[in-house]
Symmetry: C2
Subunit: 221 residues, 2 copies
């Protein structure tokens, strides 16, 4: 192997470029030239560009799911079959999300990738992620369900996705927002600071009053 493994050099370069420019806008030639690797190496090691994209995600999501499962195990044990409070669940998820990329100083990249996974059409990616990592998410939502028994199922579903949107949108567009914030308020914004600000907002959103019932005979839409 070279000074660093060719495979990891490709992954390291690819994830940064993907995060910066998106998948379609990042060519294999751009990746390989920046990684100082031969063009064919990508297809040799990964088979295709699609698989490379999935590999980039797997390198984050595999450790994430493992740690998250472990953290939930620990939590369930601590509460011994009782109900785990919502704050505790959210806190645990946030901590795990931050832990994984922290080791490589790449939270920004990780979040941006998550955002792309949602926004870019890339059907194969959503299917891959859903199939590979849908399990942890189900486990988490089930625990959230027990923590918020008053919330109708549909309402909880939507609110969870609202908050997912908040977090991914904010942290993935962080670069741009940070620039504006600093210009307007001269304030240095760290991720840690943002998470601190996010917490009360997410909690308040999840415990907001239920919406007024719609009149059953409202016009169709």
């Amino acid at each position: 192997m070279g000074q660093t493994d060719t495979v990891t050099r490709i992954l390291d370069t690819a994830e940064v470029l993907f995060a910066e420019r998106g998948f379609a806008e990042t060519s294999l030639r751009h990746i390989t030239s920046k990684a100082k690797v031969n063009l064919a190496a990508v297809n040799y090691h990964f088979g295709s560009k699609k698989s490379l994209i999935q590999a980039v995600f797997a390198r984050y999501l595999d450790p994430f799911t493992e740690r998250f499962h472990a953290a939930l195990d620990e939590l369930e044990a601590r509460y011994a079959g009782g109900v785990i409070p919502l704050e505790e669940l959210l806190e645990t998820m946030a901590r795990t999300v931050l832990e994984v990329p922290a080791e490589r100083n790449s939270l920004k990249v990780f979040m941006r990738l998550l955002g792309l996974a949602y926004s870019q059409a890339q059907g194969h990616l959503r299917r891959y992620i859903q199939g590979q990592y849908g399990g942890v998410f189900s486990r988490f939502t089930e625990l959230v369900r027990r923590a918020t028994p008053d919330l109708p199922d549909a309402e909880r579903f939507w609110r969870l996705h609202f908050m997912l949107g908040t977090v991914i949108f904010t942290l993935s567009g962080l670069e741009a927002l940070r620039d504006i914030a600093e210009k307007d308020y001269g304030e240095q914004v760290s991720v840690r600071d943002l998470v601190r600000r996010l917490r009360p907002v997410v909690v308040a959103a999840m415990s907001a009053p239920l919406p007024d019932a719609t009149f059953p005979a409202a016009e169709a839409s």
Copy 2:
């Protein structure tokens, strides 16, 4: 002119394809063939693909800004220099956002485009939108500032973006989420329904308690 203007036929087709697949993934040939228009017509009428993308946005954002300015005028007149309540401001914004594409039944497209404008790197687009339509947004945030005098400026800034994330993320990924929701809860979800669910969440989030102050000597990050 043909049965319908060539220019509008291009725009109609382009916005749908852009919304479905993103900008880079949508070729001019795809657009023109589906619009039954000659390939060169795009470059003839719009000059370039970039300009076509901007034109697609302008067709939504121009009427939006006009109406939104008018609605804010009306609101300021009604409250005669006094403070406009936050709920009123949010309500007005929501109403205007829904009004514009309602005439063409293309809210889904509009939201998806907004999401793309944020998530796709496309530097020129963000610059164009910021330069062309930054004004209304500034006016709106200033009114929000007066409506929430207790909120520190930075906190308000971030919360507004949190909520922007929630709305854009949800409504732009609506297709996918709708599929999941229907499968899981057998529920038909209309945009109107979603907006109804969003309202209490957004209000609660904006009025959430302030986060605990960080200890000044916390470790850097």
